[in-house]
Each structure stands twice: as C-alpha cells, then as structure tokens.
Amino acid sequence: MVATTPAKKEAKVDKRFKVIDVTLKRHNGNPEGLIEVLHKAQESFGYLEEDVLTYIARGLKLPLSQVYGVATFYHLFSLKPGGVHTCIVCMGTACYVKGAGKIIANLEEKLGVKVGETSADGQVSLLSARCIGACGIAPAVVFDGTVAGKLDPQSTWAKIEELKGE
C-alpha cells in the first residue's frame, strides 16, 4: 500500500473516510467508541496515519494525544504501512515449544527483515502473535488472514512463495 494523505488522493480517500464517518455516527461521537473506530480506520486505510488519527480525534472530540495513546497501546494498531501480504507467526508457548522460533529465524533470513518489518520489495510484512488459539495444530502461522498449522521452516517458506506468486 502506498502512503496517501487525504489531500492528495481525494476520490479514493473520500470513500475510506466515509467508513470512519459511519462508525463515528454509530457511536454518536461517544469516546467509548474509540477502539472500534480505530479498528475500522485501520481496516480501510491499512494502517493509521497521522491525518486519520487527527480526523478521529476531532470526530470524538478527544485530544490527539489520547487517540495516539490508545493507538500505540494496542499491538494490532499500526502507525506504519504494511506490505501487500502479511505473515503472522504464532509465538505462543505451544508453537514456541514446537519450533516456531526456527520458522521465524528462517523467514527473517530469507526475507532479509526482522519481525515487525516489511520486506524491501514491499511484498511481505513479517509479524508475530501471542497465540492465535490454534495451539492444537502448532506451530501455526496466519497468511493473509488464513490460518495454517503443523508447519516447519520449509513449508512456511513454500506458502510465502505461493502468496507472492499470486
């Protein structure tokens, strides 16, 4: 995803802000809705850029610092754009015991990034999670929202190549 500011890509931007507007309305501007609004904003923008945070702060009549404080507290909110694909390796205990560490090490080497970063070609964001609740089939990885289990470094890499090939 390319970083866009509201001023630049108006037509596209409008639609994405509308998603936020609808959610804001549903909460009647009540600050209690902040986390849900952030979820929705991230869904439509891919990440939370400063303009979006400012927009939300105004909508909920909250200081920007508070919106920023909440956005940075939670792991799932990202203030940086991600790659085209995401690969989330579970690093919960069950997966760890069954070798998730090796999967990560292999991906870091092959993609040339650390966990939390996006590969230089902008294709794959490598992330880790604290148990995705599929421990029965550990080690588990989520590829673009789809869970796969009983993986090893080779089969994980094969899946990544499959993703990139599409």
Binding site: G33, L76, T93, K98, R130, G136, I137, G149
Partner: protein, 527 residues
C-alpha cells in the same frame, strides 16, 4: 416466546434432522486443514449418491481432538474419521452403504475421549453453532426459562454458591460470592461482562466454547443478569478470534429474533441485551480493571483494587465479570442442580475444567475432565505422552503459572494442589515439554512475554521484567555469575510483592518454578 413455543422449536428441529448426521468440524483448527472443503465434498457426495433424504452434513464446532483434524464423526453409527482430506469425502459416504473409507478411522473409545466428563463441552462438536434451533433442540434456553419463572434472583445466586463453582479465568474466586456481591449493590444500572480475552498463550478453550456453542455463554450471561439485576452485558473478545466473533454476532442476532435476548425475555419483565467489544491485542486487557478501561475506549491500564468491579466497574456501575467457561457452566447448574454439580470434583474445586493439551504430546487438543484427576492421567493416559521421548515438565497457568517436573505428575489437578507446587491452574493451558526443552530458555521466553506485555504503569513490573529478562539472557550467554542468580531470586520476590496487578505479581512465577525444580540447569550455565 414462551415455554411451549420453545418446545415446539425443539420438536420441529428434531423432526427435521435426518437419520444419519455427519458432523464435520468447522472450528479454527480444522478449518486450517481444509475442513470446509471436506464439508462441501461430503455434501456433494450425498447428493450424487441420492442419499439426501437420509443423511445430512452439519458443520459443527470443535470435537476436541484438534491435533488430528479435520475430524468427521458419523452419527448414530459413532464412526470417527481423522485427518480427513477433501478427497476422502466420497469414500466416507460410500462407507455408509458398506464400502470402505480411505480416511483414517479413529477410536471414539480412546482414553482421550473416554476419560472425559463433558459438561461445558457436552454439545460441542455435535450441534451446528450457527443455528439456534439446534441449541434449543438439545435443551437450550430452558435453564433461562426455569430461572425466570421458577426461581427468584436470590435463589439463583444461592444455587450458584452452593454448586461451589469457582472462576475459570485463572484466579478461582468463588463465583456465587461474586454474584452475591454484585446483587447486593444498590443502583439501577449494573453490567455483566464476559471476559473472552483469553490472552494466555497455549490456551484456546474459551475460543472453542465460543465457536462451538455460543448460545451456552449467552444463556449463562442472561441468567447472571437476572440474578444480579443487570440488563446489559458485554462480551470482550480478542480480535485474534475472528471466527468466534462472527459466530457470536450471529448467535446474538438469532437469540434476539427468538425472544430469548432483548426486551421482556419469555414475556417476563426481564430485559437483557448483549453487545460485543473487540480487543486490539494486549494481554493485560484480560485483567478485569484493564478490560473495563478498554471497553470504555481507553488504554488497558489496570487500576488498584479495591474498589472491585463488583462495586465500581464499567462506567462506575456495579459490574459482574466472569470468564467464558464460568458462564458456560451456569446452564448445567441451573438445570441439574447445585448438589449434582458439587458432587463432581474435589472438596475445594468443584466441577470439571477444560484443558488445552499441547506441546510435545501425542494427542493434541481439548479435554474436559473432573477436577482432581492427576496430571499423569491427563498427560500419559489421555495425552499418550511424548512421541518418542519422555515428559520433562508440564507448564500450566501460562505466564502466571509454572513448570511442573515429571516427578510430580501424580499431583491432582485442582486449584490448591497446583498452587502448592508453585504453579497454578490458570485458564487451562497445559504445555508438555520434553528433554529437548531448556527450562532456562522457557523462563526467558515467558519473561520476554511479560516484558513486552507489561502496561508499564508501575515501576517494579515495567523495569523488573526487563532486568529479569536481561539476567536470563546473560545466563544463557554463559556470562552470569552466582551473584547474578542471587540477584535474580531477590528481584523475583520484589516484582511479585510490589507490582500493582496480577501480571506483575505473577510474572516471576515461571522463573521461580524452573529455578525450584530445574536448578541444575541454571547452575550449569554459570560461567
């Protein structure tokens, strides 16, 4: 909606159900292994063979043996198939008429299943979680009716108290006592919160209950609302559980349409609505006061207790917070009575508990067992032990718990016994480790978890976890001295005693328990 209508729905559903039912697991674990495709192919095969009026395929929740998924069970023949591939589907249908299936046949009488006692998971893997009719057909919402029409709020609370149920979210606080406290509070506005944050890595029973039998939780919450005088409930689910969220949303909608949630439930004066709140990935939000802050739209920082949420909770109102599994026990207690429930388990730990049995173990999955069963029975008999190896330790209680060495496998599993040996029940994660696992590395793993998950509000936890992690790293790099070990021990005590919330207070437990039972591994790393 009244009782006759409820019974009519149940009757109609039983009439509708076909003679042969193929249960195909569509929970997360099995979906990850193409179970949806299996389900589709089974349906197609039934049609192709013209068996449509005798047999049906239903997508059910988790059957428990997730490590061997996708699972398909044929009823009433009681045939179980494991690791079913989409290509096996047709042969499974052929087998109905005497052919042989290409899929691996499982043993429904295996100790993994036979030694269980299923109360919360009784219908998990048997009913379609996306259809309220199936829940009603197995007796769903009758407990709510009974509570509303045959019991006063006070007798409901009394029944729960008498059952001896203790919170399944980790702490083990008596549920009846908590309900009584909220019930006694003055004020018109009270709230019920279902804690479905399930942050413990290695635990997935709450997820499975929500995915497999969501109405069971809704019914438990509604009964709780009636008992304590609350008309509004929230379920706080972690965002990492999209399927659970989807099924909950659908269940709430169907319950509303059928008049078992919403205004004037069963035409009584009792109103109860439930909303979902989705987390955003922070372990500390499972802590009850942090969870409340998060529902209010803020950062999930815990606050000192007292006042407890029962007194001052969501929006300053009295609030009852219970775990998913706690709520899921309510229906059975109301239906079968407190005495029946209290007859299961041990003196101080009543009923059953669901455990997520994972790690280096033959049989991976979820089991529900009566409290008091020994670790050996679980890990060796049900779990089948470590494949080509031996159990070295069993980790229970997640980041708040500890590692139990193989020599203590005969310990009964109940709240007090586990605490006595330096671990805890926690929410029910049970990760088995073998000889290949370094216990110091495990301690470091948990400390890294806590270091990253601390909310940072209080100093002992924020800096203590960093220092402990550094010390463990130093040790693993063979740079540490005996003084470092002494420092580690005293730091553990300090963090435990001076942290504000449960996260910090229990963060040193994995270090302390491995230090207690696997001391030689620490000493071997001294430079």
């Amino acid at each position: 909606m009244d009782l006759t209508k409820l019974q009519a729905i149940a009757e109609q559903e039983k009439q509708r159900q076909k003679e042969i039912r193929l249960h195909c697991c569509t929970s997360t674990g099995c979906q990850a292994a193409e179970s949806l495709q299996v389900k589709d192919n089974l349906k197609k095969a039934i049609e192709k063979k013209g068996l449509g009026d005798r047999a049906e395929v239903i997508g059910v929740g988790c059957m428990g043996f997730c490590g061997r998924g996708p699972l398909v069970q044929v009823e009433p023949q009681r045939k179980l198939y494991e690791e079913v591939t989409p290509a096996d589907a047709e042969s499974i249908i052929d087998a109905l008429a005497g052919g042989t299936a290409t899929a691996v046949e499982g043993d429904p009488d295996h100790p993994f299943f036979a030694r269980q006692m299923r109360i919360v998971r009784q219908h998990s893997g048997e009913i379609d979680p996306e259809r309220i009719e199936e829940y009603i057909a197995v007796g769903g919402y009758q407990a709510l009716y009974k509570a509303l029409y045959e019991m006063t709020p006070a007798t409901v609370v009394e029944e729960i108290t008498k059952s001896g149920l203790r919170g399944r979210g980790g702490g083990g606080y008596p549920t009846g006592l908590k309900w009584a406290t909220v019930a006694k509070m003055p004020g018109n506005q009270k709230y019920i919160i279902c804690n479905a944050d399930e942050g413990d890595p290695g635990a997935f029973m709450d997820r499975s209950v929500l995915e497999s039998d969501p109405h069971l939780v809704l019914e438990g919450m509604a009964i709780a609302g009636y008992a304590v005088g609350a008309n509004h409930g929230y379920i706080y689910v972690r965002a990492e559980y999209p399927l659970a969220i989807k099924r909950l949303q659908r269940a709430i909608q169907q319950a509303k349409q059928n008049g078992v949630l919403g205004a004037q439930i069963f035409e009584s004066p009792f109103d109860f609505k439930i909303d979902i709140r989705i987390g955003a990935g922070a372990f500390v939000c499972g802590e009850e006061t942090a969870l409340i802050h998060s529902i209010e739209g803020g950062r999930g920082n815990p606050r000192p207790r007292p006042p407890y949420p029962a007194q001052t909770g969501l929006r300053g109102c009295p609030t009852l917070i219970n775990n998913v599994e706690s709520f899921a026990n309510i229906k059975a207690i109301i239906t079968k009575g407190a005495d029946w429930y209290a007859s299961i388990g041990t003196d101080n730990s009543k009923g059953t508990k669901i455990f997520a049995l994972t790690g280096k173990i033959q049989n991976n999955g979820l089991i529900e067992v009566p409290m008091g069963i020994t670790l050996r029975e679980i890990v060796i008999e049900m779990g089948g032990g470590v494949p080509d190896g031996e159990v070295k330790a069993v980790q229970t209680g997640g980041p708040s718990g500890g590692c139990i060495p193989a020599s203590l496998l005969d310990t009964p599993v109940d709240y007090d016994s586990l605490i006595k040996i330096g671990s805890m029940m926690g929410s029910g994660g049970m990760v088995v480790m073998d000889q290949d696992t370094s216990m110091v590395e495990v301690a470091q793993f948990y400390m890294e978890f806590c270091r990253e998950e601390t909310c940072g509000k209080c100093i002992p936890c924020r800096t203590g976890t960093v220092q402990l992690h550094n010390l463990l790293t130093k040790l693993l790099d063979k740079r540490a001295t005996t003084q470092d070990l002494e420092l580690m021990e005293s730091l553990c005590q300090m963090v435990k005693e001076t942290s504000l919330c449960g996260l910090g207070q229990t963060a040193p437990n994995p270090v302390l328990s491995t230090w207690r039972y696997f001391r030689e591994e620490y000493l071997a790393l001294i430079k």
